[in-house]
């Protein structure tokens, strides 16, 4: 089926097979391998993407469901200077990345949270990450990285500085 959608700020027109997942389509047809294939049954969140700004699991969508939507994967997150975002920088600095497999999904889940709630408490951060599993870090460092980013963005907003 011929579909048109926006992938990481670029419009794509392509023939998508009807009977494969969006996860397979992104990874194997479009080479977007930052989307990870973990459990394939909607449990682990490694394949999470932002679909029209909402966090969803790409293993639970069919490829043609991308039609007309805007998709952001980890490849689409970038600071204004083209480098790492503040959240990505905090993941590194706070030890929130070990094997790294869950990291793309975690960072997208963090961005989805901060877009809706710029001042989350610990509980709200935990709830926002409930659909993303990490087998290495024990989550504490991931919560820390998101909390630190939220604090920093708040401080920049109040001082009028651009993030």
């Amino acid at each position: 089926m011929q579909i048109t959608f926006s992938l990481n700020h670029q419009t794509i027109e392509i023939d998508a097979p009807a009977d494969i997942t969006l996860l397979t389509f992104l990874r194997e047809h479009l080479g977007v391998t930052g989307v990870k294939d973990g459990c394939d049954v909607g449990e682990c969140g490694a394949c999470a993407i932002l679909l029209d700004g909402q966090l969803v699991n790409s293993c639970q969508l069919l490829a043609p469901q991308a039609d007309g939507r805007e998709i952001i994967t980890i490849e689409g997150l970038r600071a204004a200077d083209g480098g790492l975002t503040d959240l990505q920088r905090h993941f590194i600095d706070d030890g929130a990345v070990q094997c790294g497999f869950c990291t793309p999904g975690m960072i997208l889940a963090g961005e989805a949270l901060l877009a809706k709630n710029p001042t989350p408490d610990r509980e709200e951060i935990a709830d926002a990450l409930a659909g993303n599993l990490c087998r290495c870090t024990g989550y504490i460092q991931i919560f820390d990285a998101i909390a630190a980013t939220a604090r920093e963005r708040q401080a920049q907003t109040t001082t009028g500085e651009r993030p």
Binding site: M1, P17, A18, D19, T21, D40, V41, G42, G45, A48, L51, Q54, L55, V56, N57, C59, Q60, L61, L62, P64, Q65, D67, A109, A112, A126, D127, A128, L129, A130, G131, N132
Partner: protein
């Protein structure tokens, strides 16, 4: 050769027309959070997916006179962000908030939760509590069924192959009614329910219980009101001893419905305690 094709109709009429085509085995896709997982384990038993996730007719949340209408493709996130539902049925919103994690709540639909009819489907107890009906449409026309009649047993409903579940409709609760939803899972979030309780109640001018609905979830083969528990409470003063007796009654009803099970050692004390907790929450909120 693809195993199946995909089509996304723009209107409900077009959907009903597609479903009425006898030469195609069609399967409706709304949230896909159950369907996509089944596809991973079993070959598709259909030729064509009909995507109804964006049908405008199925995305409404509205009050029409004294009834609340929720479109079948409305997601859990849309339910819990609805100001109307937060205001009128906070216990129903609480049930949506406790489903799975953010991704599933952003994708999964209330219609899917009902039609999939899992034994632990969390939207069912509050909807049964609210006396919900489901509206079904086909090329032949529309029909409405009580939700309790629509679901026959876990994973089996009375929907026909050519039908779409379009809306869930329930009367707006009276303002002085209090309601709770309590969920017990194996972990705090992302858990499949072991036991839930949805309950609504209010007292009259003399402080006696004058209205009561009590619906446990995930413990009986069909979600239903425990009317014996409701009758035990009606006309009485809402006091801890009464709540204790109601808990015993709830256990008696559960045992009569299910017999002894491997999980009974866990579920009996859990149901007893949750019943008391639910009733205490409902009637302490009430200003007497």
């Amino acid at each position: 050769m693809p195993r199946f094709t995909y089509i996304r109709p723009q209107t409900l009429d077009e959907t009903l027309h597609l479903l009425a085509q006898p030469q195609k085995r069609s399967r409706l896709l709304a949230g896909g959070t159950d369907l996509m997982i089944r596809l991973r384990y079993a070959a598709p038993d259909f030729d064509r997916i009909i995507d109804i996730s964006r049908l405008p007719e199925l995305k409404i949340i509205a009050r029409e006179e004294d009834s609340i209408h929720i479109g079948a493709s409305v997601t859990y996130t849309e339910i819990l962000e609805s100001a109307l539902l937060q205001d009128l049925t906070p216990f129903f919103v609480a049930a949506a908030r406790q489903i799975a994690g953010p991704q599933i709540r952003n994708q999964g639909s209330i219609g899917g939760n009902i039609v999939n009819a899992a034994g632990g489907a969390d939207m069912l107890p509050p909807l049964v509590c609210l006396d919900a009906t489901v509206q079904l449409a086909s090329k032949q026309g529309q029909r409405s069924l009580l939700l309790t009649d629509f679901i026959e047993q876990p994973h089996r409903t009375r929907i026909r192959p050519e039908e779409v579940l379009t809306r869930i409709i329930f009367p707006a609760p009276q303002p002085e009614t209090n309601a709770v939803f309590i969920k017990l899972g194996r972990q705090r979030t992302k858990a499949i329910s072991r036991i839930t309780i949805a309950a609504m109640g209010r007292t009259d001018a003399r402080g006696r219980i004058s209205f009561m609905r009590f619906v446990p979830g995930a413990i009986a083969p069909r979600v239903q009101r425990f009317t014996a528990v409701e009758e035990r409470l009606l006309g009485e003063l809402p006091l801890p001893e009464l709540f204790r007796q109601a808990g015993e009654e709830a256990v008696r009803v559960m045992n009569a419905l299910t017999g002894g099970r491997w999980s009974s050692d866990y579920k009996i004390p859990a149901l007893r305690t949750l019943t008391q907790r639910a009733l205490a929450a409902i009637f302490s909120l009430q200003s007497i």
